[in-house]
């Protein structure tokens, strides 16, 4: 028996967040102006970026192209009133009546390194379908299914053909394929399932959040109080918006989150917008400044919401600089269901 090999197998390959390198490089570059390392704050940024970015992948679905840009801007209406209207809708949502809360998302991202050989290098866009299930007793399941990667733009496709049209790539311990995976479903055990701005959060904590907008904002601000001055606003906006769509927040907490967001000074309203599936809603965005980063090195999150249903339709994360392409997540379904946890069907 070779115990060194057994040890290696025990540790396995850690998961790789493709944007981590760019993030850490940013921190390193700006080091001289930083006095000390802020452990919890970098975790918060990790949570922010991870929530939207780490999993973010692409989609081989009609209407979604590799290089689709920001949401389509159509007209301007009073953004604040849109958030308040969404709050009213959220409030009237029925409380959990079914067995599971489920969110099904389509992710798209550009793989952070160009792939290919020799002179034929090209960007590849990956897509993935994910589902998360939460039972009312707090048990959590996670399902994930890669839908296949493909060259991003027409020029990338040209280069891919010259490269011999490979159907599989291997890069930094990750394997990408043009074919969809079978997918997998797994129960999450022994780990706190949710996080808010880098702070772990249990299902029970989520159910007990304040339902008054000011109290909720205060709670969130307190939770992220370890972030450097000047970055708090962005982190609070991100943490509040996370309650709207990536967690099974109770209806009155979602309503409070919408109302608290409506009062934030750093929310930018984008007016009517359609997401990449053509669904109409209203867009708003905010920026989150990573610690020590230069101005302009921030991450911007754009959310499109449907005020009529109070659902978040899509999230687009842009930046930090140096990261190729936006990280797009489309919410296909979110809410309570009696369906049982299962590997997602191909769209």
């Amino acid at each position: 028996m070779d115990e060194l090999k057994t040890v290696r197998e025990l540790y396995g390959e850690p998961r790789l967040d493709p944007l981590l390198k760019a993030r850490v490089r940013g921190l390193l570059t700006d080091e001289p102006r930083r006095r000390r390392w802020r452990l919890s704050w970098t975790a918060a940024v990790a949570g922010l970026a991870a929530a939207a970015v780490a999993v973010a992948v692409a989609v081989a679905v009609p209407g979604m192209t590799g290089e689709a840009g920001a949401p389509n801007r159509v007209a301007t209406i009073s953004g604040r009133s849109v958030l308040l209207a969404a709050a009213t809708t959220a409030e009237s949502d029925p409380a959990a009546a079914n067995a599971y809360w489920r969110v099904r998302k389509l992710h798209r991202r550009t793989y952070p390194e160009r792939l290919g050989r020799g002179a034929n290098r090209y960007w590849v866009v990956e897509s993935r379908l994910t589902e998360q299930w939460v039972a009312r007793d707090g048990r959590v399941w996670s399902a994930s299914r890669a839908l296949g990667a493909r060259p991003g733009s027409a020029a990338d496709e040209e280069a891919w053909r010259r490269d011999g049209s490979p159907t599989e790539w291997s890069s930094q311990g990750e394997v990408l394929s043009t074919s969809p995976e079978k997918g997998e479903l797994r129960a999450i055990a022994g780990k706190v399932p949710f996080s808010m701005a880098g702070h772990e959060m249990t299902f029970e904590q989520l159910q007990r959040l304040p339902v008054a907008p000011a109290a909720l904002k205060e709670w969130v601000t307190e939770a992220v109080s370890d972030v450097p001055a000047g970055t708090v606003d962005g982190v609070v906006a991100d943490a509040l918006s996370g309650l709207l769509w990536s967690k099974p927040s109770p209806p009155d907490v979602r309503a409070a989150a919408y109302r608290a967001l409506a009062e934030l000074p750093n929310i930018r309203y984008l007016g009517s917008a359609t997401d990449e599936r053509g669904r109409a809603g209203a867009g708003f965005s905010f920026t989150v400044q990573p610690p020590g980063a230069r101005n302009g090195a921030a991450v911007r999150r754009t959310l499109i919401i449907d005020p009529d249903s109070s659902q978040v339709l899509s999230s687009t994360v842009t930046g930090p600089p140096g990261v190729k392409g936006d990280q797009v997540e489309l919410v296909l379904e979110a809410g309570w269901t009696d369906d049982r946890p299962a590997v997602p069907e191909l769209p």
């Binding site: 057994t6 040890v7 197998e9 396995g12 967040d17 850490v24 930094q172 399932p193």
Partner: protein, 197 residues
């Protein structure tokens, strides 16, 4: 990966970076992936980000003291990372406990990306993880620099600043304890090791 081919070039880059600090980013680009992998294996992906950043930050601050005649850049970085890991013993033990329970793919919603290698004998996992957690930190450091980072005995000695012979004795002790846990002793392995030095 180009590091193996150009150790001398890397040392040169570290020296150049004294005058032009942006050159240090070449070192970062070359070694980030494997240093991150090593730290994430030992402390989990969540804690790894900070420790990896700190590793390169420490290397950057101490680049003037880097002595290319004693250690390759790669071993030097692993040494810094290992020292930082040593300050987080509780996190490491917790990570090992989780590895023993769930195997090498700590999954959370929103973290579906991973490449997992399954332990062939699932049943060994908890006792192996417990045995690793029970090792002396200094023995575990040596074992994991060899098993996970693939450093030679000589590189481990320079990375940790310990005598060459000590590397062998710590490694032997760690392996012996693991073998005892795994319920198998193979005298051939011991004699093989003695040859290797």
């Amino acid at each position: 990966m180009s590091w193996a081919a150009h150790p001398a070039e890397d040392a040169h880059v570290v020296r150049l970076s004294l005058a032009e600090s942006e050159r240090f980013s070449a070192i970062f680009d070359t070694y980030f992936g494997e240093i991150h992998r090593y730290v994430a294996q030992r402390l989990g992906a969540d804690a790894a980000e900070d420790i990896v950043a700190e590793t390169f930050l420490t290397a950057f601050r101490k680049r003037a003291q880097y002595d290319p005649s004693r250690a390759g850049v790669r071993a030097w970085l692993y040494g810094i990372a290992t020292n930082l890991i040593g300050r987080h013993r509780r996190v490491e033990v917790r990570t090992l406990r989780a590895l023993g329970r769930h195997g090498p793919d700590p999954d959370t919603p929103g973290h579906e990306e991973h490449v997992a290698v399954r332990v062939s004998a699932e049943s060994l996992r908890p006792s192996l993880a417990a045995a690793l957690a029970g090792l002396h930190q200094r023995d575990r450091d040596v074992l994991l620099l060899v098993a996970l980072a693939g450093l030679s005995h000589e590189e481990v000695a320079t990375a940790l600043g310990i005598p060459y012979g000590t590397v062998g004795s710590r490694l032997n002790r760690a392996r012996r304890k693991l073998r005892a846990t795994l319920g198998e002793t193979n005298p051939m392995l011991e004699s093989e090791e003695a040859d290797r030095g």
